[in-house]
Symmetry: D2
Subunit: 338 residues, 4 copies
């Protein structure tokens, strides 16, 4: 951390800042320039949150962090790519992994049809929501445990592992009984109680980026899970909030190479929620693949105009199959498989 002092700071104040840095177990390194004196706080930054309080001193103009605030998630701690294994499917290796399924589990027929459709198209993992976070209290909130049971049946029928969302810390155990991967949704990226709980769960976690979460904060959220003892975290870019309204969110593909540089964790891209319109899903899926994503996650539905949620962004099975064919050719050009 660099502490920048205001012009005209007295030597007494400089010494006071140095003493406070020393009290936190760090070394102070003073550098006097023509226009500003700056003090480096050198050492382990686990106490950074306490250091930050120095900003309250009258003599401090600003504080500039030098190190990334996360550790276990960083390439410095682990240089090699992490590959998360899920029932024989490796996420983070040379194979691009495709997760697909309906936003909401609605009925046995709906789930079976879609599951069979996405399996036929070549998906590796089945997605489907049993607990649904809805902006409006009047919208369909999911089939809950009945939905989880349907997902387990679909796994049995298709052999595809299941990824589904968990919304509350005290439901982690229940969802983990049925799911192969626990999904943390975009509204819970900074639900730290939930992160701690899935950190203890032993199940791989698909962690979605929040709509206003910076990449640094996103990696700090992953750090919560890793610090809880769970190394199997898959990051998912699914769109951030910007001023642009022609897409539902702004899918921020830049996050893929940025995360790949900073972290060893696998990254998947969600073009369905990220754009909010099925017409943009195929081009943005290809773009996600091209910039280095380890996987893609899609909303798919047999009859998108009739579902209880999110029809606008769902692909029909025949469109999904066609897209998978195009993605296979693209993956090969990128020296990956799918």
């Amino acid at each position: 951390m660099i502490i920048v002092l205001k012009p005209g700071t007295s030597d007494v104040d400089v010494e006071d800042v140095c003493r406070r840095i020393g009290d936190l177990g760090l070394q102070a390194h003073v550098s006097r320039g023509e226009q500003r004196t700056i003090i480096g706080a050198i050492g382990d930054d686990r106490f950074k949150a306490r250091l930050q309080a120095l900003e309250a001193l009258d003599c401090v103009e600003s504080m500039v962090p030098i190190l990334q605030p996360f550790k276990l998630a960083s390439r410095e701690v682990r240089a090699a790519d992490t590959i998360v294994e899920v029932n024989g499917v490796g996420i983070g290796g040379s194979r691009v992994v495709v997760m697909a399924g309906p936003c909401s589990v609605e009925s046995p027929e709906q789930l079976r049809t879609v599951a069979e459709g996405v399996k036929a198209g070549g998906a590796h993992i089945l997605r489907g929501g049993a607990f649904k976070p809805r902006s409006s209290p009047y919208a369909f909130q999911g089939l809950e445990e009945a939905g989880l049971r349907l997902l387990a049946e679909a796994r049995k029928a298709t052999g595809l592992p299941i990824v589904t969302e968990v919304l509350e810390p005290d439901k982690v155990g229940l969802v983990a009984e049925y799911a192969d991967i626990l999904q943390i949704g975009a509204r819970n990226t900074q639900n730290f109680s939930l992160l701690k709980e899935v950190g203890q769960s032993g199940r791989p976690v698909l962690l979605k980026r929040g709509m206003a979460t910076t990449i640094k904060e996103f990696l700090l959220s992953a750090e919560y899970i890793l610090a809880g003892g769970n190394p199997n975290v898959i990051l998912c870019e699914r769109g951030i909030r910007t001023f642009e309204t022609s897409t539902r969110f702004t899918l921020d593909l830049n996050a893929v190479p940025v995360i790949k540089k900073l972290s060893h964790l696998p990254v998947v891209v969600d073009p369905s929620h990220g754009t909010g319109h099925w017409e943009y899903v195929a081009p943005m899926a290809k773009a996600g693949l091209a910039c280095g994503a380890d996987g893609l996650i899609f909303a798919a539905h047999q009859k998108p105009a009739e579902p209880l949620s999110d029809g606008a962004q769902s692909l029909k099975p025949e469109k999904f199959v066609r897209l998978m064919g195009e993605l296979r050719v693209l993956a090969e050009a990128l020296r990956r498989t799918l």
Copy 2:
């Protein structure tokens, strides 16, 4: 809801859309213009989420909502301002209510000193965090139940009601035993499980706006609590995320008159978290008062450079007292009291 059809949509497709609207119990009203045919879906929009699925039809260009998606929170359902009563303090009336205290409860001494300081300055309600949501897993996470007990002691000593944050649905009962107002933080504005739980709690709720939450979504989150049977919701603007980095967040005071137009619920402003710098707290507090806020909430600390969190934005007691004096004069000019 208005459904805009693509140019060249056939009569068969128009009829299909009308039939689907009818199936949802709404009336379809077709209007054929030179360049577009539009269909209005008339009636109760509780089924809007299902209507939205029509966007998946090939003939649909876009869908435009006409009504606000919330009801109980709206001025149409209740024209008069709601006044939330908390131990004799009315929030939402002509008196401007001030809540102040430390971001985190750190120790008996710290809390007692700050509580006495803000009481002396004229605060009406004591704030303080026992459970702290932190971006980093390595930061101080709060004293938890021990913190709640200290808050209860401070209430006994000062007579000030307590507002404190609850982070998890299954902690609502515990926190409600100690707190007079349950705070839902900015990272939980769309934690719908938690909203449902505090909707059942019988305690007034201070609901903070999320950093990427639109005002519509914010009022929908309030709707969750109201729909659960709890009419005592206080809304809090505390800054949104924008491209500007000279403040920690962008305190969006425009939200105050917009919410006042749309809703009967009281609104308070948090200039401490909204700006992140104590130097900007006083001017933005005055601005919040001037644009119509019903209350203000401040971070205050005896020794801001030493706390376990958020020192940069905390006011020292003497600055708080001076600010309260200025706010009193301002309130009078605005024909309110403080």
Copy 3:
């Protein structure tokens, strides 16, 4: 345009709104719902700006546009893709066009070396700035006309057409003497005087999206040029401003399929300025290609650590050559050439 009236609007007011709509030469179409009365204004919307003034009426709750505000730029006016021809290079067809060169023209040697390097790598068009818009008045502002002359020499030496930025309406004539394509930079996307002037220039225009310009506004800016009689507009996505700071801007690739849906104009992507870091240029270039861009524009420099501007985002020649090889394979997989 749909005009939504407030609940309880009197018949007199409804008639007044209808009369005003009629006065603008449009037809009013009233639709009375249970909760709102809405009025459609049907007809040519050239007068929309005047219609918008109805929002000032006390009885009007909101106004909702139905039609896109641009015309000549839209697919409705022209369904087939526009191909802009520049000295034998077609932009917008099956061949992906690559523009590359230094951000600033600095010296004859620098430009010659870079121009030869990018030609050897397979670039089709040479870019380089002679007039530079700089946030700081103390930064290098470009070689101006001397820079234009160097660009013309580089064209002669390499055979590559030239694209360079013009900053002021009264410099359009001068720049058009030297340049094959006039670039309008991101800070001038809504410099309407400049747009009108290049609309008259007879030269193809590379129009960059502003950092806070919506896609609708971007297409309206293109409309200014088209309406001036110049059909040769190339759109360029180069990053928007968001809260994320790990990239300099947020390259918004979603804009590519959105524009392709709405407009017939060719789209190129600028991963150099969009990300601001050379390490992210290659993955985002590939992503741009994969989501349907008609071209890519790169900053390239022999010695990026020494230039007078924008070294951080510039590719060295050997990295450019390697990237071009990868893009060629990718283009083939996408059934395009490069």
Copy 4:
């Protein structure tokens, strides 16, 4: 400037960076920590743009500016508030200055009526647009020079000084013949050619903040005018672009105290354009006053539902008069006059 090196950077590379810093006339100061080596570049930062190129070196992880990039606009160069004098009206002193008038000059009658109305209400300066920047080429573009003549007549009739916008560098002379204050609009905040030209004009300048301009960039734009020899710059906050759509822009009042801390220049607030809705103008005007603005600028119109532009945000004269009364009481409470 602080240069942060990647872990494992060799001594040779450290020396190379130091040499490059020295070549730019600055002193290098190396500080070796446990996890990073950082190098401070000490001295005058006029060459910062060149320093920035070091980011292109493979061994550089990031670069962190320490000093603000502007000088003449900063409080360090001039501690006392600047007061801009315009025909006897001082902007930046204890008197709050009010500018009001129509967005567009439409006709002699319209301008006369509005000018008399705002004068009667107590406005100090008359605003009105003769050249209008419009997103759509099909919207009314202003009366141009005829509009300037009408403004001059209105000045003669009312005695109020005139502020009006100039859009192009080569129109600065023309507009300066008629106007007392030259306005630079939000779409031209980074039109550096125009900034240089008004820097030479000798007329006070009202510089509006761009919708995606950071406060630092805003002050750099002011620096262009100051560096041109014109000390009379008035800054205007008028709303930034965010994800929130219930207001047209997000009026960022935080900018007022931030600018007051960093700069000696006067600041005015535009609640009309900042919110885009007349209903929000009064509360946000009061808020702007309360957080320390030196002035306010309003759109006013006799018949807002009929103008050629921007009726939605225009105050009717009687509303303006009532607001002025409220602002007067508020100014007194803030120990200012109006």
